[in-house]
């Protein structure tokens, strides 16, 4: 134990001698979580739209007003001719063109059916689908109003249909409530995996590993002593980013704080252990970096369900998602934050995470024997 304390002191000293490390591991995550938490939203609102109004009548102005007045669209400009408008669409300056034909107002007044055209840039397929649906229903509502106004006598009364949409588990349907816990998990993974990945390979590259080899340290002591300082950094990071999530973004932590910390610690075991494993299989720091980023971080980001639902993936790829610790940690943090559930709901995930951590740590410690000798 004394030897361990000694090693720990040495590692901490090395960290202290590197003062630029602190802003990067403590300040950067907070800034990132703040910015990205705001940016990561899939709400399809304020879609920029250009209107080609060939009519310029009160009726056309009313329709334009309706688009501009809704939260779904922002009218960027109203022009008379199509010249240059299609180009705006191609250049991505606008997302949609609404074309109102000449004689629109007169046709509406005479009760003649009239068609407006909506051209949408389909490259962002998902946003476009929603935006088109919104445009169609805005026009349909206006049509119904006009029809009702045109023949008040003939009409038998009809009430409006209102869909009362209730969302379970995330009633505000805030994509922020979904994304912020995800960004939190991702940030922790990036920072701690990197720190773990550099832990031993640096000594290897600098040639100081020899000195460690001749010390009477046991293998596990070396592993623990190497990782503990980074583990501490990880725990402080958890504290920081959870605070930002709760106090800045006001995402209610409905579940248990103790459970969040406990399982985050298990998650850090996985990410630090993964980093250490990378460290033992790499000869240079550059190799360690490449291996960590391409073979571990990319799959973790894309296949964990962080943004893209696992259930949408082809059946052949889905199993890959379940060998990734982030997949389980995401279920856990989102469950704790959004649903306020506890271990009774995600004990399989917690167990998987724990098993993952133990296995990767053991592997890394065993591998390290070859490295040291």
């Amino acid at each position: 134990m004394r030897r361990l304390r000694f090693l720990l002191r040495k590692e901490l000293q090395e960290l202290r001698r590197n003062p630029r490390m602190f802003p990067v591991v403590f300040v950067a995550p907070v800034i990132q979580l703040t910015v990205l938490g705001y940016a990561a939203t899939t709400d399809v609102k304020h879609v920029p739209i250009v209107v080609v109004d060939a009519d310029r009548s009160p009726a056309s102005r009313d329709l334009i007003e309706r688009f501009d007045g809704s939260v779904y669209f922002t009218v960027q400009g109203v022009v008379s001719g199509t010249a240059g408008v299609e180009r705006d669409l191609a250049l991505g300056r606008t997302w949609m063109i609404l074309s109102i034909p000449p004689e629109f107002g007169r046709d509406v007044e005479l009760g003649r059916p009239v068609t407006v055209q909506v051209v949408a840039d389909g490259s962002d397929s998902n946003s476009t689908t929603v935006a088109l649906a919104n445009a169609t229903s805005l026009v349909a509502e206006r049509a119904a109003e006009l029809a009702a106004a045109a023949r008040p006598a003939a009409a038998r009364p009809v009430g409006a249909l209102d869909a009362r949409i209730r969302v379970w588990f995330n009633p505000q349907l805030s994509s922020r409530h979904f994304m912020v816990p995800g960004v939190l998990a991702l940030l922790l993974m990036v920072i701690t995996t990197v720190l773990g990945a550099m832990a031993i390979v640096r000594e290897k590259e600098l040639g100081t590993l020899e000195q460690l080899n001749v010390t009477p340290l046991r293998r596990w002591e070396l592993t623990v002593g190497k990782l503990l300082p980074y583990g501490l950094i990880g725990v402080v990071d958890v504290l920081l980013v959870v605070s930002v999530a709760v106090f800045w973004f006001e995402i209610p932590l409905r579940g248990s704080l103790a459970l969040l910390f406990g399982l985050s610690f298990v998650y850090l075991l996985c990410t630090l252990g993964l980093g250490l494993l990378v460290s033992t299989v790499s000869a240079t720091q550059q190799q360690a970096m490449m291996t960590a980023v391409f073979f571990f971080m990319f799959p973790m980001i894309y296949l964990s369900g962080f943004i893209f639902p696992i259930e949408n993936m082809p059946a052949a790829i889905q199993p890959l998602a379940y060998v990734i610790p982030l997949t389980y940690y995401l279920v856990i943090v989102r469950g704790l934050f959004l649903k306020g559930v506890g271990l009774e709901a995600f004990w399989p995930e917690a167990l998987a995470l724990l098993a993952w951590g133990v296995v990767v740590m053991t592997l890394a410690t065993l591998r390290s024997r070859k490295t040291y000798r």
Partner: protein, 371 residues
Amino acid sequence: MRKALAVGRKELHQIRRDRRTLVILLFVPAFFLLLYGYALNWDVRHVRLAVLDREHTLESRALVSAFVNSSYFDLVASPGSMAEIERLMDRGEVRAALVIPEGMSRDLRSGRLTQVQVIINGDNANTATTVFGYAQAIARGVSAALQLEALGVAAAPPISVDPRVWYNPELRSALFLVPGLIGFIVMLSSVISTSLSIVREKERGTWEQVRMAPISTVSYVVGKTIPYFVISFASAVLIVLAAMLLFDLPMRGSWAGLVLAVSLFIVAALGTGLLVSTLVDSQALAFLASLLISLLPTMILSGFVFPIASMPAPIQVITYIVPARYFLVVLRGIVLKGVELQAFAPQIGALVAYSVVVLGLASLRLARERG
């Protein structure tokens, strides 16, 4: 220039000795495009829907068929009670449920506001937001249609919409995501490959030799980046070809424009890595810093996944310093829309300005360190 080439040759030598790094840089990106191109998909279609229709009237059937015919919802269950809906939702067998209360038709006919209930599983807010939008639009559409029908004008509503989708008429999300993935992968591999280059010399103690070498700082920087440029470019070509072969990514614009845009983007990314390398003093820190400035920002702030137009204004301002933002507009414009490069002068200008600034800052830092 000769000196710059000499530095380049030395760097290339070093890369060659490190086979694994070379293989990762060259081939792994194309492989990952393959994997992720198939895996990533957020087309929200075929949402599993349960319908509890307590009415079975003309109006209720119109509503149900509007949901089912929309192609967004698949009717998979007709539960008999709310408790059953709860069970279906909890077990994840359905993602949405439509509940039509008794008396809806009667209420509608007597001119009252009538509520139907739509329940959505919100655990994935992204999917749920989209489903929310569809459900709302469908209900509003049916409402308007019913009103028109009551007025006897169902055959021809006074105003209708003729929707057309350009560039991606089938609305495949792969066509949107694959260019984003290309930008993401190119950015990451370029930043990472150079961010260690100078700090490594410092850490290994070979920096002193570089300081004393009779070579200008600019030649040194050029020499350091050329090999990585060649590798990143080769890798980018592989990725783009893979995207076109495997994901039917079209090529509607000019190859020359694409090559220029890709090259500029790589220079911007390499410059970013180089700047990081001059600012920090250990490889671990360089690694961390380059990931923090490239990984998440390129994914979240570039318009790769999340539309920039939907972000709050102050965050939109920040996206202007993310080079991938410009690259993605140009890439999607050339590949999907067939726009010629000249049209993207502002984006190209921004990429050039960005590269000049980061490379200039990196050279200044280096010049100062060399004394």
